[in-house]
C-alpha cells in the first residue's frame, strides 16, 4: 500500500474514532449514544485492517458491533421510555474522571515514545487466520481450553444470579 494513502486512511479513521467516541460521551439521547458506539467500534475495526490484522478486524465487527453493541441498543429500545430519557452529561465524577483520563494519555504518550528504538518490528504475514488458528491449537491450546471453562462458569453464574424465584 502506498505510504501516503496509508497515512491519510489512518488519520481519517483516527479522527472518526475520536469523534464517535466523544459522541458516546456527549450525546444526550441514549439511543444516539449507542449508535455512536457502533460507529466507534467500526472505525476501530478499520484501524485493525490498516495494521494488517484482518482476523481481529473481523472479530471486532462480529462480536463488538454484531453482538455487544446491538445488545445494548436492544436493551435501550426494550426498556420503556428510556430512549426519550435525557441523560446527564456531567456528574460529580467529572474532575476525577478527567484526571484519570489525562494520566492515561500521559502514560500512553510516554509508552509510545519510550518504545521507539526497540527492535520489535511487526512481522508481515500473508495468512493471519491460518497462523492464529495454528497458534491457538498448539502453543495456546491450554489458554483456549481454560477460556471454555471460564465461559461455562460465567454462564452458570449468570443463570444462577438471574433466575426467577423458585416455588417452594
Amino acid at each position: 500500500m502506498g505510504g501516503w494513502i496509508y497515512t491519510i486512511a489512518f488519520y481519517v479513521c483516527a479522527a472518526l474514532l475520536v469523534a464517535s467516541a466523544l459522541g458516546v460521551l456527549l450525546l444526550r439521547n441514549l439511543f444516539h449514544a449507542g449508535l455512536s458506539l457502533i460507529a466507534a467500534l467500526f472505525t476501530m475495526a478499520a484501524l485493525f485492517i490498516l495494521l494488517g490484522a484482518e482476523f481481529v478486524a473481523g472479530i471486532q465487527v462480529l462480536i463488538y458491533v454484531g453482538a455487544i453493541a446491538v445488545l445494548i441498543l436492544f436493551a435501550v429500545m426494550l426498556t420503556q421510555r428510556i430512549a426519550e430519557e435525557k441523560v446527564k452529561r456531567y456528574t460529580r465524577a467529572l474532575l476525577p474522571g478527567l484526571a484519570v483520563a489525562l494520566a492515561l494519555v500521559i502514560v500512553m504518550i510516554l509508552v509510545t515514545t519510550g518504545l521507539t528504538g526497540y527492535g520489535f518490528t511487526p512481522f508481515a504475514t500473508e495468512d493471519t487466520v491460518g497462523d492464529i488458528g495454528k497458534a491457538l491449537l498448539s502453543t495456546y491450546v491450554l489458554p483456549l481450553e481454560v477460556i471454555s471453562l471460564l465461559l461455562l462458569g460465567a454462564l452458570v453464574g449468570a443463570i444462577v444470579l438471574a433466575r426467577k424465584e423458585e416455588e417452594k
Binding site: 502514560v107 510516554l110 509508552v111 519510550g114 518504545l115 528504538g117 526497540y118 527492535g119 520489535f120 498448539s138 502453543t139 495456546y140 491450546v141 491450554l142 489458554p143 481454560v146 477460556i147 471453562l149 471460564l150 461455562l152 462458569g153 460465567a154 452458570v156 453464574g157 449468570a158 444462577v160 444470579l161
Partner: protein
C-alpha cells in the same frame, strides 16, 4: 512440544468435579444436593495429593504455558486447604440455605481450578485468562445471596473494581509483548537484556526532570507498574484495596474467607512467578524495583491497621486486617532473598489457617446470633466459652503473639528484611504489629469484658461441620507455632529448587 496430561491432573480433577456437581444436580437433584459438598472436599483433597507429585525444580509443558514446580505445589496445597475449610463452613451457613447449593459448590470448585492455573502458568495469556477465570466466578460468589442487597452490592463493587484493574494489567501485558515479541515469561526474561542494551540512549527513568533519575527502561518500568496494579488488586494491597472491605462485608462470610485466603494467595503466586522468572533481569525495571514494592507494603500495613481499628463490623475489621497482612507478606518480596521468598510461602500457609479460622468464627457466630457487629460479641466469652477461646486464639495469632503460628510468620518476614538491612521497614512492620494487636484486642475486649446491653439471642444451633472446620484451623494455627521446622524447611527447599 510436550503436552503432559499428568501436569494438568489437579486442574482437571477440580474443574471436572465442578462440572460434575452442577450436572448431577440437573439430572438427579436430590442426590446432587446431598453429594455436592462431599465431592467438593474429595476433589480438593485429590487435587492437593496429585499436585504433590510435581514437587521439584519445575517441568514445563503445553507449549511453554504450564509449569509445575515446588512453588506451585505449596500454593496448590494452600488452595486445597482453603477449599476444604470453606466447604465445611458453607455446609450449614444459613443465608446460603435459601440459595442453590450445588451451583455454589460447583463454582467454588471452578474458582479453585482457576487459582491452580494461576499458580502454574508461565505465559502471559494463560496468566490473564486464569486471573479473569478466578475473578469472574468470584464476583458471582460474592453476590450469591440474592435476598441480601449487600451481597449484590459486594459482587458489583468487586466486579467494577476487578474489571478496571485487569484492564490496566492487560495494558502492561501488551507492553511486555510489544517490547519482547513473546508472551512467554521465560522468553521475555531472555529478551530483556537485549532490550537494556538497545535502550542505552533512553537508559534512565526520569521521574522529576533533572532531579530523580533511576537507571532502567521507561517502557519496562511502566509495564511493571501496570502489571503491579492488577496483582495489587488481587492481593488487596493499598492503594488497590478499596473493594475488599465492601466485598467481604456483603459476600457470604465463607466466601469472604475464601477470597481473603485463596484469592490473595493466588495473586502472590503470580507475583512470585513474575519476580522469580524475570529475576536475572529485573533491575532493568529500574535499579531499586524492590523499593516500589516496599511502598505498597508500607501503605498496606499502615492503612490496613489504622483504618481497621475504627471498624465495628467484624467482617470489615477482618478485611482491613487482611489488607495489613498483604503488606506484611509483600515485605518478603522486598527482601528479595531466598529467605524472603520462603517467608512469603510460610506466611501464606500459616495465614490460611488463622484467617479462615477468624472469618469462620465470624460466619459461625453470624449463623448462631444473626449478627456481625462487635456488640453481638459482647459476653461471648461467658455464653460460648469454647467459640470465644478459639476466636481469641485466631486473633492473637493474626496479631503475632508468640507461641502461636502467626508469630513465626511475622518472624521470618522480619528476619528476611533485617538480614538485607531494611531496618526502617522492620521498625514500621513492628509498630504496625502493635497497632494490629490493638485492632484485634477490641474483639477480645468485647468478648470477655463487655456486658451485653440486652441479651443476645441464639436463633440457630452450632453446626458440627463448622466446628470440625474450626478444629482443623486451630490445629493449623497451633502446630506450626509449636513445631515450625517442617514447614520452614519445606518452604526453603521449594525456593532453593527454583531460584
Amino acid at each position: 512440544m510436550v503436552y503432559d496430561w499428568m501436569h494438568l491432573a489437579p486442574h482437571m480433577v477440580l474443574a471436572g468435579a465442578g462440572i460434575f456437581v452442577i450436572t448431577l444436580d440437573l439430572v438427579w437433584g436430590k442426590l446432587g444436593r446431598a453429594l455436592a459438598p462431599w465431592l467438593t472436599i474429595a476433589a480438593a483433597a485429590a487435587a492437593g495429593a496429585l499436585a504433590l507429585r510435581a514437587w521439584g525444580p519445575g517441568a514445563v509443558s503445553w507449549g511453554g504455558a504450564l509449569v509445575v514446580d515446588s512453588l506451585y505445589v505449596l500454593f496448590g496445597l494452600v488452595f486445597s486447604v482453603a477449599l476444604i475449610l470453606v466447604t465445611l463452613l458453607s455446609l450449614r451457613y444459613w443465608p446460603l440455605d435459601q440459595e442453590r447449593k450445588p451451583e455454589y459448590f460447583g463454582l467454588l470448585l471452578l474458582v479453585t481450578a482457576a487459582v491452580y492455573f494461576m499458580a502454574s502458568s508461565l505465559d502471559l495469556i494463560l496468566i490473564y485468562v486464569a486471573i479473569e477465570f478466578s475473578s469472574i466466578l468470584s464476583y458471582v460468589l460474592a453476590g450469591y445471596l440474592r435476598r441480601n442487597p449487600a451481597s449484590g452490592e459486594a459482587g458489583l463493587k468487586y466486579f467494577l473494581y476487578g474489571a478496571s484493574a485487569s484492564a490496566v494489567m492487560l495494558l502492561g501485558f501488551a507492553l511486555l509483548y510489544g517490547m519482547t515479541g513473546t508472551t512467554n515469561l521465560v522468553g521475555i526474561s531472555e529478551a530483556l537484556p537485549e532490550l537494556g542494551r538497545s535502550a542505552s540512549d533512553v537508559g534512565y527513568i526520569t521521574l522529576v526532570p533533572g532531579a530523580v533519575e533511576i537507571p532502567g527502561n521507561w517502557a519496562l518500568f511502566l509495564a511493571a507498574g501496570l502489571v503491579l496494579v492488577g496483582l495489587g488488586y488481587k492481593i488487596s494491597a493499598v492503594p488497590f484495596h478499596m473493594w475488599a472491605p465492601d466485598a467481604y462485608n456483603g459476600a457470604p462470610t465463607p466466601i469472604a474467607a475464601f477470597l481473603s485466603v485463596a484469592s490473595k494467595a493466588s495473586g502472590f503466586a503470580v507475583l512470585l512467578r513474575f519476580v522469580l522468572v524475570l529475576h536475572p533481569n529485573l533491575e532493568l525495571v529500574g535499579g531499586a524495583w524492590t523499593s516500589y514494592v516496599s511502598v505498597l507494603a508500607v501503605l498496606s500495613m499502615v492503612i490496613g491497621s489504622l483504618i481497621g481499628i475504627v471498624q465495628n463490623d467484624i467482617r470489615r475489621l477482618l478485611a482491613y486486617s487482611s489488607i495489613a497482612h498483604a503488606g506484611f507478606i509483600l515485605l518478603g518480596v522486598v527482601a528479595d532473598t531466598r529467605l524472603g521468598y520462603a517467608s512469603v510461602i510460610i506466611y501464606l500457609v500459616i495465614y490460611a489457617f488463622m484467617n479462615i479460622g477468624a472469618f469462620g468464627l465470624a460466619s459461625i457466630v453470624g449463623h448462631i446470633t444473626g449478627g456481625y457487629e462487635l456488640s453481638d460479641y459482647s459476653g461471648l466469652g461467658r455464653r460460648r466459652p469454647i467459640l470465644a477461646a478459639l476466636l481469641a486464639v485466631f486473633l492473637l495469632s493474626l496479631a503475632g503473639i508468640p507461641p502461636l503460628a502467626g508469630f513465626f510468620a511475622k518472624f521470618y518476614v522480619l528476619a528476611a528484611i533485617i538480614q538485607t538491612g531494611h531496618y526502617t521497614l522492620a521498625v514500621i512492620a513492628i509498630l504496625m504489629s502493635v497497632v494490629g494487636l490493638f485492632l484485634y484486642a477490641r474483639v477480645l475486649k468485647a468478648m470477655y469484658f463487655d456486658r451485653p446491653e440486652e441479651a443476645v439471642p441464639e436463633v440457630r444451633r452450632l453446626s458440627w461441620a463448622g466446628a470440625v472446620a474450626m478444629v482443623l484451623c486451630f490445629v493449623g494455627t497451633l502446630a506450626p507455632g509449636v513445631y515450625p521446622q517442617p514447614l520452614v524447611a519445606w518452604a526453603k527447599e521449594a525456593i532453593a529448587l527454583i531460584l
